[in-house]
Amino acid sequence: MTEHLKMDEVQPRLLDETTQGAIHRPMPRPEGPLKVSGRATYAAEWKMDNAANGVLVRAAIPKGHYKVDASSVEAMPGFLGVYTDRMPRNAAQGTMNTNPAQIGDEIQYLGQPIAVAVAETFEQARDIAAALKIDYDRDDDVAAGPDTAQQVNEKDDPFDQGDLDRAMADAAHSVDATYTTKGHNSAAMEPHAALAVWDGDKLTVRASLQMLGYNRNELADSLGIDAENLRLLSPYIGGGFGSKLGISPEAIAASVAAKELGRPVRVVMTRNNVFETVVRRTETRQRLRLALDADGKLTGIGQENWQSNLPEEPFAEPVDLATHFLYAGANRRYGQHIAIVNRSAAGSVRAPGEAVGMLALENAMDELAEAAGIDPIDLRVANIPETHPENGKPFSSRSLAECLRQGAEAFGWSARQAPGARREGEWLIGMGVASAARTNILQESKARVTLNPDGTALVETDMTDIGTGTYAILGQIAAEMLGLPPEKVTVELGDTDLPKASGSGGSWGAASAGSAVFLGAKGIRRRLAERLGCTPEDLRLQDGVATGGNNRRPLAELMDAPLSEIGHLETGAKSNDVHQAGYGAHFAEVAVNTVTGEVRVRRMLAAMAAGRILNEQTARSQVWGGQIWGIGTALTEGLDHDPRTGHIVNNDLAEYHVPVNLDVPDLDVIFVEERDDDANPIQAKGIGELGLSGAGAAITNAIYNACGVRVRDYPATPDRIFSHL
């Protein structure tokens, strides 16, 4: 049976009525011990006696055509084959649901996967890949970066409301500043990997993927097979951050080679592959304009951005996503320009849009507060719009002011001084603040929930856990609804044979998949209520005992066989009629060395409001992750491209610095109490990407407060600060 809900109406807050106490509580993830003891098997680790090993061959030129000469390596030890068939140019974009670009013998960027070399062992395959003779027909007309691009795609119909130029001219205070950000790599700990096994027409692929429902269609389409014949397995994923949203070259290559060879083939990306071929976050240039009247009210906002991508690649970094709704102001204008370049594909990297767009917006707000002589928090609070400033829609729960106020109190914002005022030896100390906002999205999702007479339960869905805590929260939701201790609930994920869920991405996984589990369990509650002889509203379930209508019975007496229900959530009118977003406030205290320009983040605090917090511990971990990405974005991370070829030169973790323990101080997170009734039946909103949105801007605003240097070019490496000191 199926419990179905289309989210058209506000739903009762059932999770505030249940009494098991499984939800919200800071429960450690149940699969954690498996992961830290090496017992959680990741895609590349599956043992299969007759598996062959493939290594991706990368293009050594940025543009042109190629032909591989397999005869040049046939005699090498362990040689099994070299395949170019169906090789994609890059991974599919998130939720694409069809094949990524497959461009045959054409090369459009240096590092593009062009073949897979397969041998008995990994080492042999690597050697064959290195020795393979490739004939290149090189095209020297290369656009290595946005500055040399001949084609720039303009956004068809950029939003333009009122008269921004006029608002700027009439403003009492204004900011017109340009910010730049370098590209980013997701740099997930687990490199992309796939193990493909054919059995007749049936293909099974173990891979590291975020969205199995979409990925199944993408891989089937790439191979020209029926999706019904394809099973994907991704029970454990060592981080995704957007890089595993779409099917990517190693899975397609492994499938093609396995078919040709009639034996399983494993393809694992190297770290260099990950940097060179996995989607990057585009570099951006952003022009921000803010106009403020004499009363401290915004009258105009403008955000225009320049970025880059490969030809025909259906993705643009939604840089201005939060700018549309975060602050009031009648006159608003946006623009987007995408240079077509010979660089790897740009796509979703954690919090696409806000991660870089809010750096510029929140820096500009800080500059405006300075210009107007208003406290940055007061300026933000005074300009929170009543309704959506561009379409007039009402907002769902929105605790931005509470986050700013409560965060300021907890952080000790009142101790903030003027730039340069607080000195400790060589170091100047400063504080910064930034708003956080991330659009909340709900996606269709299904899950099967089964309650057994022995008081255990099973949750099954093809949802993924990319290190976010899905195993924990789905078990907690089922436990809360069914009145069981969480350890009695088993959660099975990451298998396309199971009911199709939303997948992990866009911070929608917990609320979407969680709502499906909620609905499945709700269906079981309805059936238990019937058996107990009470209404579902009167039913109370706790510790394996059902109470209702003057009856009190252990579950075992109510059922002689397992009860199973599929929960099916669909998005409804609420997604369209009400503007939904998570909100928060980031605070940072930094020390800037006046002699070297080094920046040390001393402490950070995030005050977050994201509806119901399902698990305080995994939610906090998500926010920590966002704060740490904020440090990287502000201070250390940035892809550098060879100006001649567009090639990513810092293509490993020794050159691209992701923050490590020494870079990360004590991180504080507080959750502002909230329920979002418009969002979904569990009143929760996404939190993963919210934790990153604005985080880096709080750091660079703190740098200004410390030493009076405005960082407008990211990352703020010491040489960039030193030159202004």
Partner: protein
């Protein structure tokens, strides 16, 4: 890996003989050579390991100085010079990470003369002498430029000798991802003068900042550095980790810090 011959001689004489083969290369800790070979930037037909040569290992007093065998690892130098030459010990203890320090050797480091390596600064500032299978070369003549040394074809660094100064300090500004110095300065004060050696900064590799040496020899104080202008940034490495001007600035900053820490 591709096929190559591998020899592990037990004496310097045997190693020298083995290296007479065309395209043979000496292999000490392999911390540079192995990745270089993996990337096919070097494809020697024969690799001659120096790690089994007992006479090239260890640390011992040598008159008023210290003798360090060429095949001695960074970890061993860090441990064995802790009392006799704390500044050198500290330099060795901060190279790379524990895995690098367990394999990498002083001989390999000076023979490679990476412009961002730590040892060349320590050896140059410590009035070092590079001992090879055929001669002794003062450090001043040994380091010729980025990845360039006075070594001849097949010549092996068998030991490094340093003079122990009255006081010394190695001030290192690290590039956080690789932990190579972005710029680092080794300052050593002897009875008859001061040496200041800089690594990580110059396009020409390790160098002595003679203006600072003169100033400090006259007035041994961090303030003495203040009056100097930093070296010219146009001669400095400019890359994604920092501009040449920034490195030039760091030369002065790290020199001052090194003196202050002595």
């Amino acid at each position: 890996m591709y096929d190559f011959e591998f020899e592990r001689p037990r004496s310097i004489a045997d190693a020298v003989k083995a290296l007479k083969t065309e395209e043979a290369i000496a292999f000490s800790g392999g911390q540079t050579l192995m990745p270089t070979m993996k990337q096919r930037l070097a494809m020697p037909s024969k690799v001659v390991s120096l790690t089994a040569i007992e006479e090239m290992r260890g640390v011992r007093q040598d008159g008023s100085g210290i003798w360090i065998g060429g095949a001695t690892t960074h970890a061993t130098v860090a441990r064995e010079t802790k009392d006799s030459y704390p500044a050198l010990s500290s330099l060795a203890a901060r190279i790379g990470d524990p895995a690098v320090r367990a394999r990498g050797t002083i001989g390999g480091s000076v023979a490679n003369n990476d412009p961002s390596a730590c040892y060349p600064a320590g050896v140059l500032a410590s009035r070092g002498v590079i001992v090879t299978d055929r001669r002794e070369i003062p450090a001043d003549d040994f380091f010729e430029g980025m990845f360039m040394t006075a070594l001849e074809e097949g010549e092996i660094v068998t030991a490094v000798k340093v003079e122990v100064p009255e006081t010394a300090h190695y001030a290192k500004f690290i590039q956080p991802a690789s932990r190579f110095p972005l710029t680092a300065v080794f300052v050593a004060k002897y009875g008859d003068g001061v040496r200041v050696a800089v690594t990580g900064a110059s396009e020409s590799g390790v160098f002595r900042w003679t203006e600072a040496e003169d100033a400090l020899s006259g007035d041994w104080s961090a303030d003495a550095v203040d009056g100097l202008s930093a070296p010219d940034g146009s001669d400095m490495i400019s890359d994604l980790h920092g501009t040449g001007d920034y490195r030039a600035h760091l030369v002065k900053v790290m020199t001052k810090r090194a003196v202050a820490a002595c």
